[in-house]
């Protein structure tokens, strides 16, 4: 297929300083958990996007000095020759694909806890971080200012040596240059504080010095938050950002424009729960209106028509994507080829970001199971090898996220026939009803993408309205059987806090309900007062609280944890979720675990001081969001009752299970599980994942011998005669 001519503007080259981007697709700096210390994972991850058509890809934030060490989180680092060498692999691979490489030079100031380097970060004013506990900076004097500016210059030279084409002086997300610009961080009274000209001085001088050092070889990018939404204290568009842009526009080759500070950066990396595509356009357009330079910006762009509008209406020059490029590294190529229904659209769940916020693990993606697996598992999101056992027929029981993914990938791997059999009348499993929770509509993209792909695969057939029992499975005629029957919310209050049920919890009673009963079965929530017991800690409890409060109920959320929905801090949904629940009058009770549930209310005790501190919350209905269990009856019967020999007698050579049926986890994990099994369906033991390549240092045996010899000599020398 060919590109729709109305999308042509997205494929026009654009000049940024001394470099040319071949089209308008840019992968914005974003974390992946690889940094400079997993260089191959890093390089393969970024290169996949270049292969998919991106004209330029950036590192994540890249520390310029051990003074700016974000450990426990993983940043890139360009501190020394080793980092140059490691990051040069990424640059070389991007260049192979005709893409530019960008490096986001970063100095965190008081936000950098320096837990590995044990250095002291420097900042404009000594106020602890609003993002990180117990983290202080040393207040910078003039020498410090010149030294830190030199750190930027030295790092920029190293970036150039590594092969980067674009070098950032990064301020957004409340990092050092923008701290100087912002009264919230900058209380100085010298020529680096006070007036806009003074607050802009550090950033202006730094850009100038970096430009002088590398500007003839590298494009200079500046990433600025144009509004921190913090009133007078924060950066403001008219007062600070636009005058700053005008002040330094001549020094800058490309503007990277967003909003927010770091402590609520979900205003920038917006969850779909709260914001739609293109939400930052008004700020990006404002910068474009005062700048002579190209402007790029994110907006969770997945729709090419919206991208074209953003460019043609003069609001942006370059379409920058973070999450949509994780969800589909081939977004540009698919638009170029007119294959719009093959785009795996980001759902805006922010599970990718959650991994950075947790601090360390590689990123994951709900939509794209191959994200982060490019190097270590060798997975390509668009290429599939024909399975060695492709002459087999496969039965997948259950068309939820895991079953759909598994059937789709098995289809792409050329299995002779794949039957995806579902008890309900359509595909989707839990993702048919979860998107009906308030704000989660875009999560339905999980189902839509897979449905379209499965429909295109001639060897995959979807069979709805069909419940298979063990006999039905054995009679089915498949050589490979994969059970993907999902999971369910506990009906008896079983939970991870007490590892027991809750006395009185029984969802067969009218006043006790589970999420499925409310969302799928339509069970009425009696009365006005509802207590939601949340031991889950993610979106289900709060989503039901919002839904029921919107329906006019008086809702209390009760959790043994210290926060409601603590995982939503990692997905950046927490601030707005709290705002919403607070406005809706939802009462939040933390550190309390129910001891009994009765028709009139829920009695709970403080988790650390239960004795004599029980309290009862009156309630007409109690919703149990305590834990999920696998729906594994079919799998157990096939494995335990029938057993391998009985199955073999019916021609079933292999039996596996995937997704929530194995263990109820994140949807991203369920999809990964289905994908993983399909990728490895022809491995020696598909039930067990193949080992992945680990990027770690393994000392060679000579080095080990040397260390041991040295130890022996020292022990002998220091030995005390008996």
């Amino acid at each position: 297929m060919a590109r729709n001519p109305k999308h042509d503007v997205l494929f026009e080259p654009i000049q940024i300083g001394p470099k040319t981007m071949k089209n308008r697709f840019y992968q914005i700096p974003h974390c992946n958990g690889f940094g400079s210390e997993r260089p191959l994972s890093q390089a393969y991850f970024r290169a996949m996007k270049a292969e998919g058509g991106y004209a330029a890809c950036c590192t994540e934030y890249c520390s310029i000095s051990p003074e700016s060490d974000d450990t426990h989180r993983v940043s890139a680092r360009i501190w020394d020759d080793g980092d140059i060498r490691n990051l040069s692999i990424m640059c070389a691979m991007l260049h192979e694909h005709g893409a530019l490489a960008a490096c986001e030079l970063w100095y965190g100031g008081p936000h950098a806890p320096c837990m590995e380097s044990r250095c002291v970060p420097r900042g404009p004013t000594q106020i602890p971080s609003d993002f990180e506990y117990l983290t202080y900076a040393k207040e910078m004097d003039k020498d410090d200012i010149h030294e830190v500016q030199q750190l930027y210059v030295d790092a920029a030279k190293r970036a150039r040596e590594a092969g980067f084409d674009i070098v950032y002086v990064y301020g957004s997300h409340s990092y050092l240059p923008q701290q100087f610009l912002t009264p919230y961080y900058n209380h100085r009274t010298d020529e680096y504080g006070g007036s806009l000209e003074n607050r802009a001085r550090f950033w202006r001088e730094t850009i100038e010095q970096v430009k002088n050092a590398v500007g003839s070889d590298c494009a200079i990018a500046v990433r600025i938050s144009t509004d921190m939404f913090m009133g007078e204290a924060g950066t403001q568009l008219e007062r600070d950002a636009l005058p700053f842009v005008e002040l330094v526009d001549d020094l800058v080759d490309v503007w990277d424009v967003n909003v927010s500070g770091i402590s609520e950066w979900g205003e920038d990396a917006t969850p779909s729960r709260f914001y739609a595509q293109g939400r930052q356009l008004p700020w990006q357009a404002a910068v474009k209106s005062v700048s002579k330079k190209p402007v790029l910006g994110v907006g969770r762009w997945t729709n090419p028509d919206a991208m074209v509008d953003a460019i043609n209406s003069g609001q942006l020059d370059i379409i920058a994507t973070c999450r949509p490029s994780i969800s589909d590294p081939f977004l540009p190529q698919k638009i170029d080829e007119g294959r719009l229904d093959d785009i795996r659209e980001c759902i805006g769940c922010n599970i990718c970001i959650s991994r950075w916020e947790i601090g360390g693990p590689p990123l994951i993606c709900t939509q794209n199971a191959t994200a982060g697996e490019e190097y270590r598992r060798g997975w390509h999101p668009e290429r599939f090898e024909r399975a060695a056992n492709a002459d087999n027929d496969v039965l997948v029981v259950g068309a939820g996220p895991a079953g759909m993914e598994c059937a789709m990938i098995l289809g792409k791997r050329g299995m002779r026939r794949v039957h995806l059999v579902e008890a309900q009348d359509d595909m989707g499993g839990i993702m048919r009803w979860i998107p009906q929770l308030p704000g989660l509509g875009e999560w339905a993209r999980v189902v839509n993408y897979r449905k379209i792909q499965i429909d295109k695969l001639k060897n995959v057939e979807f069979i709805p309205d069909t419940t298979l029992d063990a006999q039905g499975v054995k009679d089915y005629g498949a050589e490979i059987v994969i059970v993907a029957t999902g999971g369910y919310w506990a009906t008896d209050g079983l939970n991870g806090a007490t590892h027991d049920t809750i006395p009185g919890a029984d969802a067969s009673l009218a006043h006790i309900l589970t999420p499925e009963q409310i969302m799928v079965e339509g069970k009425a929530v009696p009365g006005e007062r509802v207590v939601i017991v949340d031991n889950d800690g993610y979106f289900m409890g709060v989503s039901l609280a919002e839904k029921l409060a919107l329906e006019g109920k008086q809702v209390t959320m009760l959790t043994p944890m210290g926060h409601i929905a603590p995982y939503m801090h990692f997905t950046l949904e927490a601030p707005n979720m709290h705002r919403k629940l607070h406005k809706l009058g939802v009462e939040i009770v933390t550190y309390h675990m129910p001891t009994k549930i009765e028709a009139g209310g829920v009695t709970a005790a403080h988790v650390y001081d239960g004795d004599g501190h029980e309290r009862t919350w009156e309630a007409d209905a109690t919703v149990l969001v305590t834990q999920r269990r696998s729906s594994e009856a079919l799998f157990r019967e096939l494995k335990d009752v029938d057993g391998r020999d009985a199955l073999a007698a019916e021609g079933v050579a292999a039996l596996y299970r995937i997704g929530d049926c194995e263990a109820p986890r994140l949807t991203a994990d369920a999809i990964f599980s289905g994908h993983r099994l399909a990728r490895e369906i022809d491995s020696p033991n598909p039930a067990v994942p193949l080992p992945y390549k680990r990027e770690r240092r393994v000392p060679d045996s000579d080095a080990l011998e040397d260390d041991l010899r040295e130890l022996r000599v020292r022990r002998e020398r220091e030995a005390v005669p008996v």
């Binding site: 027929d393 039965l395 026939r417 039957h419 059999v421 069979i463 309205d465 069909t466 009679d475 089915y476 005629g477 498949a478």
Partner: protein, 191 residues
């Protein structure tokens, strides 16, 4: 039993029917020119098989003529009911048939059998064919019957995209102004 007219590619559909429970399948090896010649090719086989009931589709997905079934009935001299959405028949000499009309109307008729019924999509949820049945169907023989193409009943002179008509008025602007203009147009036309 199931019958179709076409080249060997058409056997995939017959095998699917066999997997879903048909006992036998016949492919009439011909490249029909139009619905009438398709019906002619079918009529010899149907006559020979002497079925109690003949079911066809309402229309093909490509040329959407909607004529093969009724033409077949005419050639066989059998009663026919078109666009059937419900069938009650216990194998006796009459069947009660619900015929779909425009505007949601349903015509309930009794028809003597043998008869030809053209069946509307969605009349039943077909049973699925499991993999075992599909594999068994692969082993079954499909009888191939030759047929003469015969005379075409009409010839296609020309195919063309209809010319763009004049007189369409595109309404621009916001929802309120578009709605306002529509009200004006409706008032003008109603006089």
């Amino acid at each position: 039993m199931v019958v179709t007219v076409g080249d060997p590619e058409a056997e995939a559909a017959l095998r699917r029917c066999l997997a879903m429970g048909a006992d036998r399948a016949i492919r009439i090896d011909a490249a029909p020119l139009d619905p009438i010649s398709t019906a002619r090719a079918l009529s010899d086989v149907v006559r020979e098989e002497e079925p109690d009931l003949v079911l066809t589709g309402v229309q093909s997905a490509d040329s959407v003529q909607g004529s093969t079934g009724v033409a077949l009935a005419e050639l066989l001299g059998l009663p026919r009911v078109a666009v059937v959405k419900q069938l009650d028949w216990s194998g006796g000499t009459t069947a009660t048939v619900h015929r779909e009309l425009e505007g949601g109307l349903v015509d309930v008729v009794e028809v003597d059998t043998p008869a030809v019924l053209t069946i509307q999509t969605g009349i039943n949820a077909p049973r699925y064919a499991n993999l075992r049945a599909i594999k068994q169907a692969e082993q079954l023989e499909i009888a191939v019957v030759p047929a003469e193409p015969g005379e075409a009943s009409y010839r296609v002179r020309r195919m063309f995209a209809p010319p763009r008509g004049a007189g369409a008025e595109m309404l621009d602007g916001g929802a309120a102004s578009v709605a306002g203009r529509i009200v004006e147009i409706v008032r003008e036309r109603l006089g």
